[in-house]
Symmetry: C2
């Protein structure tokens, strides 16, 4: 069944009004007709609807039933990623959204050689939305940036379980408890984190985590860690 994410202003009582690209998609690409079923999602709630009327630029739908999305992990996981090179951020956002990450925060660190322009932010958010649609998520993960490593660590350490992935050693993912509400994972760019950054993260309350004896690329690490945490949280 077709499935779209909607904003708060699309809902009025038991009517959902769709405009823009999604309305075009419903009418012209899918050739939906009055009486067809469609699902809308907003912030973890799903709305089963029937399309009632198609206008030139909108679709008016009636809510039949609403319920909490079954596909949302109980554990809210945020990925804190130092800016990687090239298109790696896109791969990270797409794969970690499928696996259940709740939010992405990109930030600069000492060994980052890349800094994205503002166009990237729009593109990254669209990739999160597409991956959320495709994988059947109940929310679109938010993609944000922070201006500094310190700002990112400050936010990371507000999670119930703040994990700092560090190639020079630490505890294992398997040693942590995932019966918690929020977790954050911080991953370096291609060059990793330097010693000062690792020390600062630990001093501010993050736990150093070691990912084993094979060297993972900077885009492989967040995907692997998200998969492992979702498995250990009972979500895979």
């Amino acid at each position: 069944m077709p499935r779209y994410f909607i904003g708060e202003d699309a809902i009025d009582g038991d009517i959902i009004t769709v405009t823009g690209a999604d309305a075009v998609h419903m009418g012209r690409s899918l050739r939906m007709r009055e009486g067809d079923a469609v699902t809308f999602c907003r912030q973890g709630t799903e709305y089963s609807c029937i399309a009632e009327r198609f206008t030139s630029d909108s679709v008016i739908c009636r809510i039949v039933e609403s319920f909490p999305s079954m596909a949302e992990p109980r554990l809210r996981l945020t990925v804190y990623q130092a800016y990687p090179k090239a298109d790696k951020a896109e791969l990270i956002i797409q794969k970690c959204t499928e696996l259940g990450a709740a939010a992405f925060v990109f930030f600069p660190s000492r060994r980052c050689v890349s800094k994205p322009n503002d166009n990237k932010a729009v593109r990254w958010q669209r990739i999160a939305e597409e991956a959320a649609k495709q994988s059947g998520r109940g929310i679109v993960p938010e993609v944000r940036t922070l201006p500094s490593f310190e700002a990112a660590v400050t936010e990371l350490t507000s999670a119930d379980l703040p994990l700092f992935c560090y190639e020079n050693g630490g505890e294992r993912l398997s040693e942590q408890s995932y019966d918690i509400g929020t977790a954050g994972i911080m991953i370096g760019s291609e060059g990793g984190f330097d010693r000062d950054e690792a020390d600062m993260a630990r001093d501010m309350g993050a736990k150093h985590i070691w990912l084993g004896r094979r060297i993972l690329r900077c885009e492989t690490a967040p995907i692997a860690v998200t998969a492992v945490i979702m498995d250990r949280a009972g979500e895979i």
Copy 2:
């Protein structure tokens, strides 16, 4: 330290002779000199060496010490992947090699729309070698193809733990024991497996595995499953 994979014929007593692209890389790209240290790997054994002589097309090195590679997982995991579209096979090979997969087997299934040509096999093996080098593996995972779904299931079910990932349900990865020698995971193409294929796999001895309530793309599933199994085998 520079690190290369070598064939059996490169070793003679305590001398390793490197030719071809690796010799060019050592001499011209890295500008190595006599007396420089270099590591070679062959099938899980690492050789610490000193470069002794550079000729126009070879490098002669003396073995100082040899020992089993520390980076090889104890669990030997083979990924059985129905042919995916486009470049997805490359992503699967690269990421799962980093994470510790021992071998890759590609095969056709009913819903596959893609079939690679022979050039792909050479390219896929090269991607495995590059990823093995980069991640510090002790072996280069072998990449093979099989002509049919049935041939792939037959091989899969010779593993101690043969897992068939199926969107219509099954056991969880977390319910399995990974204190074993060999495991195989079978993953569908974009369209998944059909009911007959799933039944055949179960009848031949494979265990149906369900990956949770989010729909993973066909290239995300093998990466996530490899990460989870390596974590549960104590390797991440």
